[in-house]
């Protein structure tokens, strides 16, 4: 398959136009998720801390068992 630079450039531009909106959408989703997670942690600090300690405890138990 032979492609000249113009074709490569066109193809790259086409891929960019297709991918950039998806990346932007993913970025917006991640920012939204981060905001929700942070607000949840701030609203329930005790629950989250105890849950994190329990999760760490389980991971430590699993790691020490191997």
């Amino acid at each position: 398959m032979e492609m000249n630079p113009q074709q490569i450039q066109d193809r790259a531009r086409e891929i960019q136009e297709r991918i950039v909106p998806q990346i932007e959408e993913a970025r917006r989703n991640l920012v939204d998720l981060n905001t929700r997670v942070v607000s949840f942690i701030r609203a329930n600090p005790g629950t989250c801390l105890i849950g994190a300690i329990a999760a760490g405890f389980l991971i430590g138990k699993l790691a020490s068992r191997r």
Partner: protein, 143 residues
């Protein structure tokens, strides 16, 4: 606090014993109440000193990571191969900023060398191509 009182008073000696018992119950009750209030104030003082809510407000992910680490240590995962792997990964990630500049410099040098080599090859082929027949897969096409 309620005071223990005997409804039937059978003699002075028995009454004195009951009063002593009641006083002791009273004393134990008041001491228990004082202990409870002391414990509550100690817990509230500890909470104010640690300022857990404020810390979580300021740095939620850091506090979650710290709690995860505390749980990991409590779970007995400190002296395990997983800890070694995590530490190795952490050291590598910490070294990355120091190595990054050097890697970028090496990549730039390699790119310049590649460009210089490509230009010299192109110049030679252009000079050799004068007066010769054109090639089928000449410059401008990439296969």
């Amino acid at each position: 606090m309620t005071t223990f009182q005997n409804a039937q008073d059978n003699g002075s000696h028995s009454s004195g014993d009951n009063q002593g018992f009641g006083q002791r119950v009273d004393q134990i009750g008041s001491e228990a109440q004082q202990l409870w209030s002391n414990a509550r104030s100690a817990v509230s003082d500890l909470g104010q000193t640690l300022d857990i809510k404020g810390r979580v407000d300021r740095n939620p992910y850091g506090m979650m990571a710290a709690a995860l680490g505390v749980g990991y240590v409590l779970g007995g995962g400190l002296f395990t191969p997983l800890t070694g792997r995590i530490l190795k990964l952490g050291v590598r990630l910490a070294m990355l900023p120091f190595v990054k500049d050097e890697l970028l410099g090496m990549a730039e040098t390699a790119l310049r060398g590649y460009e210089a080599g490509h230009a010299s090859v192109g110049g030679q082929s252009g000079a050799a191509g004068i007066g010769t027949s054109p090639r089928t897969g000449g410059p401008g096409t990439i296969s």
